[in-house]
C-alpha cells in the first residue's frame, strides 16, 4: 500500500473524527453549565450527587465509560446492543467532558468578585439577569485558556472511539497498520492530530483576542 493511499484511506475517517469532536462540544459545553449550576444548588443532596458524578467521570478512564455506555444497557437490562456506534460514543464523550467543563465553569464563577453580584442586586437585576449578563460573560473570558486545554485534549481523545469500533481516522489507521505491518499509519495519525490542534489553537486564540477589549 502506498503512502498516498494510506493517507486517502485514513482521511475517509476524518469526517467521523470531526463528528465526535463537534458533537461532543455541542452537548458538553452547555451540559457542563447545567452540572456547574447543580453543583451550586441550594439542596445539599443535589450538590452531593453532582459532586459524585464529577468525581466518578473524572476519576475513571473515558475508555471504560465508553464501554459502560455502549454495553451497560445490555448487561444490566438485557437491552440489545445497537449497531449505531456514534450515539453511545457521543453520550460517553459528552458526559465525560461535561464533568471537566463543569469544574472549569465553577472555578470561573467563583472567581467573580462578590461586588459584581451586589452591584447588580442593588440595581434590581434578577438572579438570572445577573448570571447571564454580568457573571457569565466575565467567566467566559477568564476560563478560555482552560477550555482551550480541554478542547486540545478532546481532539486527541477522539481516537478512543476505536474502543467501540467506531471507524474514525485513528481506528482506520490501526487497521491498516495491522494488515500492512506498517508503522506509517500512526505517524500519519500523529500529523493529522497535530494539524487539527494547530487549527484549534488558532481559533481559540482568536476567541481570546476577541475578549481582550476589557480587563
Amino acid at each position: 500500500m502506498t503512502l498516498t493511499s494510506m493517507i486517502l484511506k485514513m482521511s475517509e475517517g476524518l469526517g467521523r473524527t470531526c463528528a465526535i469532536f463537534f458533537l461532543t462540544l455541542l452537548f458538553s459545553l452547555p451540559l457542563g453549565l447545567v452540572v456547574a449550576a447543580l453543583r451550586r444548588s441550594r439542596f445539599a443532596a443535589v450538590r452531593m450527587l453532582t459532586r459524585m458524578y464529577i468525581s466518578l467521570l473524572r476519576g475513571t478512564p473515558l475508555m471504560l465509560q465508553l464501554l459502560v455506555v455502549a454495553y451497560g444497557p445490555f448487561y444490566l437490562f438485557g437491552m440489545s446492543v445497537s449497531r449505531n456506534k456514534l450515539v453511545p460514543t457521543i453520550i460517553a464523550f459528552a458526559l465525560n467532558y461535561a464533568a471537566y467543563f463543569a469544574e472549569i465553569y465553577r472555578s470561573g464563577i467563583e472567581s467573580i468578585p462578590q461586588g459584581q453580584y451586589e452591584a447588580a442586586s442593588v440595581l434590581g437585576y434578577s438572579r438570572g439577569q445577573t448570571f447571564f449578563r454580568i457573571v457569565l460573560p466575565q467567566v467566559v473570558k477568564r476560563i478560555l485558556p482552560s477550555i482551550t486545554n480541554e478542547v486540545i485534549t478532546l481532539v486527541k481523545d477522539t481516537s478512543l472511539a476505536f474502543t467501540l469500533a467506531y471507524m474514525e481516522m485513528f481506528s482506520i489507521g490501526k487497521q491498516i497498520a495491522n494488515s500492512q505491518s506498517s508503522f506509517m499509519p500512526f505517524i500519519i495519525a500523529g500529523v493529522f492530530y497535530y494539524v487539527m490542534n494547530l487549527v484549534v489553537a488558532f481559533v481559540m486564540s482568536r476567541f481570546e483576542s476577541a475578549m481582550a477589549y476589557y480587563r
Binding site: G115, A119, S121, V122, L123, Y214, R215
Partner: protein
C-alpha cells in the same frame, strides 16, 4: 416626609450581634453622615438597608413601603415583588465602585434603566449623557472601566446609581479607595448633589466634609448609635467615645 425609616434594627453574624437596636429616619432632601471606628457596623447598616444583608430584627421602610416588618420576635421580609419595588427607591455607591468591567461607561449606566425599569432606549441614553456631562465625563462614554482613573470610575458609578432616579442614595466610604487628589473630585460631586437636595446617607471618614455637607451626623460604635445630632457634634462632641474617636483625626 420620611424616605427611609429604620426601627430597632438588629443584626448578628453567628452569635455576635453587630448591630443593636438601630433606629434611624431620613427625611426627603436630608443628608445624613455616619461616622465611627472600623468594625462599628457602618457598612453592615448600609448593607441591611440596601437588602444586601438580611436583618434579624426590626423594621425597614422606604416611603410607605415596608421591606421588612418587625414581628416582635424577628424580622419578616416582604414578597419578592414588593422587594423589587423597594429596590427601585434606593441606590448604593460602593467603596470600590463595582462597575461592570465588560461594559462601556455608557452601557454601565443605561442597562439597568432599560432592562429593569423598562425605560425607552432614547430616554435612558439621554439621561445617561446628561449625567456624564454633570460628572465631567462626556468624552469617556465609550471607555471601559479599566481605562479610567479611580476617581473617574467612582463618578461613573455615581452616575449609574443616579440613572435609576433613586429617592435616596447611600454611599459606603466612596473615597476610601482613592488618593487624596481624587477624593476631592468625588466630594465635589457629592456636595453638588447635596446642593440639589438629593437625599443621601454617607458613611465616611472625611470629617471636615461630613461636617460641611450633612444635616445630621450619626456616630456609631460597637453596633450602637452612640451619639447623633447636628453636624457640630463633629466639632463639639459630648459623648466620651465620640471625643476619643474624633481626637484621632486632629
Amino acid at each position: 416626609m420620611n424616605i427611609l425609616e429604620i426601627e430597632h434594627l438588629r443584626k448578628q453574624f453567628g452569635d455576635r450581634e453587630v448591630l443593636s437596636d438601630i433606629s434611624l429616619s431620613v427625611r426627603e432632601g436630608q443628608v445624613v453622615s455616619i461616622i465611627g471606628p472600623s468594625g462599628s457596623g457602618k457598612s453592615t447598616l448600609l448593607r441591611c438597608a440596601t437588602l444586601l444583608e438580611t436583618m434579624d430584627g426590626g423594621s425597614l421602610k422606604y416611603l410607605d413601603r415596608y421591606a421588612v416588618r418587625d414581628t416582635g420576635s424577628g424580622a419578616e421580609y416582604a414578597s419578592q415583588a414588593e422587594l423589587k419595588a423597594v429596590r427601585s427607591c434606593f441606590g448604593l455607591v460602593f467603596q470600590n465602585f463595582n462597575l461592570f468591567p465588560h461594559y462601556t461607561v455608557l452601557k454601565n449606566i443605561v442597562e439597568a434603566p432599560i432592562l429593569i425599569q423598562k425605560r425607552s432606549k432614547e430616554e435612558a441614553l439621554q439621561t445617561a449623557r446628561e449625567l456624564l456631562a454633570k460628572m465631567g465625563l462626556s468624552d469617556r462614554e465609550d471607555a471601559y472601566p479599566y481605562q479610567l482613573s479611580g476617581g473617574q470610575q467612582q463618578r461613573v458609578s455615581i452616575a449609574r446609581a443616579l440613572a435609576m432616579s433613586p429617592k435616596i442614595l447611600f454611599f459606603d466610604e466612596p473615597t476610601s479607595a482613592l488618593d487624596p487628589e481624587l477624593t476631592g473630585e468625588i466630594l465635589k460631586v457629592i456636595r453638588a448633589l447635596a446642593a440639589e437636595h438629593m437625599t443621601m446617607v454617607i458613611v465616611t471618614h472625611e470629617m471636615a466634609f461630613a461636617r460641611d455637607v450633612s444635616d445630621h451626623v450619626i456616630f456609631m460604635d460597637g453596633g450602637h448609635i452612640v451619639e447623633e445630632g447636628e453636624p457640630d457634634i463633629i466639632t463639639n462632641p459630648r459623648h466620651e467615645r465620640t471625643i476619643q474617636f474624633l481626637n484621632r483625626f486632629n
